[in-house]
């Protein structure tokens, strides 16, 4: 026992009222599925069943697309931008009003620490709706022609790592541009999307403008291959992204993909070391490493390797792993048993390939899915843990000697979503940034998001941009 042990400080669950079961949100109402299939969503921290959720079949997807088409043709696309903006502003304000409830719900269903859902996810959700609400009546000034048209009905499939935030990234620009949407949340984290459906009702969003169909891979397949869909937007694994790209290749559908990453976080010898260590921690242990742009490859200049590693280990020993709803928790639960198995498997491969594994000493809860913050040293470019996305709290450490070598190693990956540079030298930041093949390059920070800033990948990290003015392009007929 240390001198100063923080007593449990759990955020109350009382703000959340869960229903026993949820229908599909189609045409502005919750409706049962046609074939009656359902699945359970659990809390990954305790394996407690939270609610039963309807599994949408092809007939349900069809209903949703029809509702969206109707809303598109009769209401939403005809509405002036100023009117659409009002709905988006209203959604943003309701998200803020219900922020605590949404944060608790997100942490319950996803396993992420309440500190993150409260301070990062939900504020960014509201910020995205506010931001794109502002664009809705200014589209002719966005640089896509005098009167850019929406695309129509958009099918969107989102991942489980930032459930409500990814929904906001997808829905806010789509609606601002005049499209209607059918969105499928991930099967392990459907609850905040369903709460969002309630928010749409609360905001009087016209029926059919937003439709939420819950389900797993089959539901997603039915959605993205539906002939009534004009555009598909997907965030998730590269493997599924490729499958969707193949499916869409046979149709007129437009497609944007935001996929995996294996980002390099590059620390130079003149870096502000203490802040760089914070950036490394935030880069890979934020959201348990379930972040497509996570800084999962740490590239340290050899001359400061010992110093940085010592500081990093010391810092990791202070990370607090446990109950996601405790306000002092830094690292929460792994989202699912399947993801935990994948993280374990790749970590074992790392050891088998000869890298040295070190985990922060911490007690893992008995129930639920947990993995300690882990660092692999002695990693080379040839190791699988340096090449494959682990999507967990596992950092691979490599070294470099010169800026040119750092660029070479950073770019030597099939991915290209993000990168980080740590140095006090401004000119080196610019030199590096112009050579790194990554959609986002952070300088002396990491994992910072803002609705005004475009986000997206190079190479197998996908195509299309989300956020900012650039994010409008994916939802306009340009």
């Amino acid at each position: 026992m240390g001198k100063f042990e923080y007593a449990p400080a759990p955020e109350s669950r009382a703000v959340v009222s869960l229903r026993e079961s949820y229908g599909l949100f189609i045409g502005g109402e919750f409706t049962p599925g046609v074939d009656g299939h359902a699945f359970k969503t659990i809390s990954p921290a305790t394996e407690e069943v939270l609610a039963e959720v309807t599994e949408a079949g092809p007939a349900d997807v069809d209903r949703a697309v029809i509702a969206a088409r109707k809303a598109y043709e009769h209401t939403w696309a005809l509405m002036p931008g100023t009117e659409r903006a009002k709905y988006l502003f209203r959604i943003a304000r309701i998200v803020q009003e219900r922020a605590r409830e949404l944060a608790v719900l997100e942490s319950l269903d996803n396993g992420k620490p309440i500190r993150e859902s409260r301070d990062v996810d939900i504020p960014l959700v509201a910020a995205h709706f506010f931001y794109y609400a502002g664009w809705a009546d200014k589209l002719e000034h966005a640089g896509f022609g005098p009167a850019p048209r929406p695309l129509g009905v958009v099918g969107q499939v989102i991942p489980w790592n930032f459930p409500l935030l990814m929904l906001a990234w997808k829905i806010a620009p789509a609606l601002a541009c005049g499209n209607t949407v059918v969105l499928k949340p991930a099967e392990t984290t459907p609850l905040t999307a369903l709460a969002f459906a309630e928010i749409c009702q609360q905001a009087d969003v016209p029926p059919g403008v937003v439709n939420i169909v819950t389900g797993a891979g089959e539901t997603g397949r039915a959605l993205v291959t539906h002939p009534g869909i004009d555009k598909v937007a997907f965030t998730g694994s590269t493997e599924v992204g490729k499958e969707i790209a193949r499916a869409c290749a046979h149709s007129r559908q437009k497609l944007t993909l935001e996929l995996g990453g294996k980002a390099a976080n590059i620390v130079f010898e003149d870096a502000p070391i203490d802040q760089a260590v914070e950036g490394i921690v935030n880069g890979i242990f934020f959201n348990q490493g379930h972040v497509c742009c996570a800084g999962s490859r740490l590239l340290v200049q050899e001359s400061v390797y010992t110093e940085v590693l010592a500081a990093l280990r010391r810092r990791l020993e202070t990370l607090r792993l446990g109950d996601p709803l405790d306000k002092n928790t830094d690292v929460g639960a792994i989202n699912s048993a399947a993801q935990l198995a994948k993280i374990r498997e790749l970590s074992q491969v790392g050891e088998a390939e000869g890298a040295q594994r070190w985990s922060a000493p911490c007690d893992l809860p008995v129930k639920g899915f947990w993995f300690p913050p882990t660092v692999f040293t002695g990693v080379s470019q040839a190791h699988r843990i340096a090449r494959e996305e682990i999507f967990g709290p596992v950092l691979s450490v490599l070294t470099f000697r010169t800026p040119a070598e750092a660029v070479e190693k950073a770019n030597n990956t099939p991915y290209g979503l993000s990168a980080g540079i740590w140095t006090d030298k401004g000119s080196l930041i610019l030199w590096m940034a112009s050579r790194l093949r990554a959609g986002v390059v952070w300088a002396n920070t990491f994992n910072k998001f803002d609705p005004t800033s475009p986000f997206g990948g190079y190479k197998e990290s996908g195509y299309g941009r989300e956020g900012g003015r650039h994010g409008l392009e994916a939802y306009l007929d340009v």
Partner: protein, 312 residues
């Protein structure tokens, strides 16, 4: 780093080389880290421990032109028994006064275990000749101060005369004749966090027992980011030199909530070795009553009005 730091003789150039070779501080990152730690939620048993710890770390301070022996006596009584209604309340660490009142404090606190701290070296500006500063220190120590809070020459530091700052600290250390030396950096005048880190190292290399944020006479006084950087410095200095140096945050810390934030900062930056009045102090006056009020609230479940706590 350590090989150079052990060099017996310094010059402006070698000190500059060393201090400017320390890793930089990214201000945005340091502020973000301090803000994150400030969001820690300290409840129930943890709060109980932390409130008592904070009380025991206070340097109860009065540094006003209107100070009198009577005022200092009252403060000393409060220092020894902060809450007359509850004898389980810990004593504060020290009473901090101007040199001419150190004797009054020493008499009052004799045998109590509460230390007598005196500011010196032409506090708060430090704008006097070295002789005057040293005489100030000797006077305070002779009057019974066992802790000396000196100020560095910020003008010398900002114009790169590091050797002068170093030598003054060494001379004061010598003149303070074994009294515990706290070196005030006056971070509000150093402005940048890079300067805070460099001044911290300079003071520690010159023999400071404690490094202290501020005089309390300049705004901003203690802030969480500044204290974070100083805690990193004492942590790194001990790693490099094996000597532990304390940190004192002074000025502008008025509420129990603030005090708890500083303790979290200590706990998660320098580590629990520093969670002790020997290694961490809070320079404050009105803070004590808020800590006492929170302490009573925790024990009884009710808030008492300010009239139930003594004013001095």
């Amino acid at each position: 780093m350590s090989a150079l730091a052990d060099t017996p003789t310094w010059s402006d150039a070698s000190l500059r080389g060393f201090l400017h070779g320390l890793p930089g501080v990214d201000q945005v990152g340091a502020q973000a880290r301090a803000a994150m730690l400030a969001s820690r939620s300290i409840k129930t048993t943890a709060k109980q421990w932390a409130l008592d710890a904070a009380i025991s770390m206070i340097d109860l301070t009065t540094l006003e032109g209107q100070d009198t022996p009577g005022k200092v006596r009252a403060l000393c009584a409060k220092a020894k028994r902060p809450d007359p209604a509850d004898p389980s309340t810990p004593m504060v660490a020290a009473v901090c006064v101007y040199p001419d009142l150190a004797q009054v404090a020493a008499t009052e606190l004799n045998g109590s275990g509460v230390h007598v701290a005196s500011v010196a070296t032409a506090f708060p500006s430090g704008r006097a000749g070295l002789d005057v500063k040293l005489a100030d220190v000797k006077y305070a120590v002779a009057a019974g101060a066992d802790e000396v809070d000196m100020v560095i020459d910020r003008g010398a530091f900002l114009s790169g005369r590091y050797q002068q700052v170093f030598d003054e600290i060494t001379a004061v250390k010598q003149a303070s004749d074994g009294a515990h030396l706290k070196v005030i950096l006056e971070t509000g005048e150093l402005v940048t966090l890079d300067n805070v880190r460099r001044a911290s190292w300079l003071a520690m290399l010159a023999g400071a027992d404690f490094i202290k944020t501020s005089t309390g006479k300049v705004t901003p006084a203690a802030t969480l980011p500044v204290t974070l950087v100083m805690l990193e410095a004492v942590r790194d200095f001990r790693d490099a030199h094996g000597r532990q140096v304390g940190v004192k945050a002074a000025g502008g810390i008025r509420t129990a909530k603030d005090a708890l934030r500083y303790l979290v900062l200590v706990n998660e930056t320098a580590g629990e070795d520093w969670l002790d009045p020997r290694w961490f102090r809070l320079g404050a006056s009105s803070l004590l009553n808020d800590l006492l009020m929170q302490r009573t609230k925790l024990a009884t479940g009710r808030y008492s009005g300010p009239d139930y706590f003594t004013l001095d």
